[in-house]
Subunit: 278 residues, 2 copies
């Protein structure tokens, strides 16, 4: 295997900034790897768009990363992971890691009582992406799903310790708690920000599955499988590209990443669209 191949970066894309929680976990798991992140902040959210549009945008986002010479693509967006994985795998030669597969596999290993809760945006829950994948893994699983639409804006506001957040979490999670799930899958990249309050409401015994952690593990095992883990002993560097820089980008990005974000470059949407035409 060519030395240079191993030193290629890991590519991560998302419809916006939520995927930064996934970058955080990849950095923690694979500190020597370089990462290229693309957040399609100009066209966020993907959740309210048609499957055809989400597939088209995902192909463009991934093509932009492939042009940056990535060795693996992480789809750090639940909506894109739910509909675009087959199209991405058909189109590109590098491995593609999706949130639904990674998170579901992780939850399937963790549950003992086979009672799994899944929380996510309304789009993810309506599509039933996680419950389909979990039942594909094991038809004996009892899967209970709940949309928590206020969790994304609460995470973006950074209201982690706010009493209102606790009350909202109590209301959203009441049913899952009563159903005594032993594992709760955080099916949205924003939700790890609210992990402490979710854990508090669900109780310490319930295992929370951060799909970012699951994706980072999947990336690690994929790199081992194809023999492309970096040999570098240096510190990994992340380069951030976004299609628009919202006024709150820096604040929210730092919160999601757990440290200040540097090296942010704005890319025209036109450039992203053209990536896929080449």
């Amino acid at each position: 295997m060519n030395f240079m191949e191993k030193e290629k970066p890991i590519g991560v894309f998302d419809s916006g900034i939520g995927g930064l929680t996934v970058v955080k976990e990849i950095m923690a798991k694979l500190p020597n790897e370089r990462i290229i992140y693309f957040g399609d902040t100009a066209r966020v959210p993907y959740g309210s768009k048609s499957n055809e549009t989400v597939i088209e945008y995902s192909l463009q986002d991934a093509a932009f990363l492939v042009q940056k010479n990535v060795k693996i693509i992480v789809v750090a967006c639940n909506t894109a992971s739910s509909v675009a994985i087959p199209a991405l795998r058909e189109r590109f030669n590098v491995p593609v890691v999706g949130m639904i597969e990674a998170g579901s596999a992780y939850a399937a290993k963790e549950t003992i009582d086979k009672k799994i809760g899944v929380i996510g945006t309304r789009s993810t829950i309506t599509n039933r992406s996680y419950s389909k994948e979990l039942r594909r893994i094991n038809p004996g699983f009892d899967v209970f799903e709940k949309a928590c639409p206020l969790f994304v804006p609460l995470a973006e506001e950074g209201w982690i310790d706010h009493n209102a957040t606790l009350e909202i979490a109590e209301e959203y999670l009441r049913e899952l708690k009563e159903l005594s799930v032993d594992t709760l899958l955080l099916g949205c990249t924003h939700y790890p920000i609210l992990k402490p309050v979710i854990q508090k409401v669900m109780g310490e015994k319930v295992k929370l599955i951060d799909s970012g952690v699951a994706a980072a593990q999947r990336v690690s095992s994929e790199l081992d499988r194809i023999g492309l883990r970096s040999n570098s002993n240096g510190l990994g560097v992340v380069s951030y590209y976004v299609s628009d820089i919202p006024s709150t980008f820096e604040k929210v990005a730092s919160l999601f990443l757990g440290k200040p974000v540097s090296h942010v470059t704005k890319v025209d949407t036109e450039t992203i669209i053209k990536s896929n035409a080449q």
Copy 2:
């Protein structure tokens, strides 16, 4: 004036469903008028998009209404009202009513102490559209602005009586209350849903300005000015067009309109784009 001209409908567009609170007020103020509503639910939100894009989309949305033969256009979207009014007035021959002008004029008439608060989405507050318009009307106004990003998802969840909503409102409005504004402009079409809790937090003495009410008054006076008020004694009918039907459309639309929504037609985005090319 031709009889038929007066019986043409009023056209209302918004980036999504928030504009239905404006439709509600127009129906209340002008019960005999027919209304055509277009909600660009496939491309919502406009607030995170560039001014050029918002202008382009607004011209398309308005062109769709003009093809439906409307006698006046109401831009029931604060973002579009903030950037697209000049372009719309240049392009179309019918009067164009925007939220910023209507709401600001109304607030300017109501304030006694000349201390006006404005709440809205982050985009509206960052653009300072209301404070610029208010200071244009009277440079002596003290205008205090506050973004309330959680109010839109709370309104869409229908959490009107929820304690979490009260706590969130108390946190957002604390500063405006301490500044003793006597008038508070609801600079987002979603906010009238939360009027009771906002009034409770601000106190009964503070005058809340619903920009939907202001827009309905403006439509009424514009129709009188151009002599196009309907002579019909029948009940007004509203036809709803949307570029996508989200799963929660019916529930949220009923909440915003105050009654069930009927006659909803889905229009392809392509049709909307083509409207403006003709």
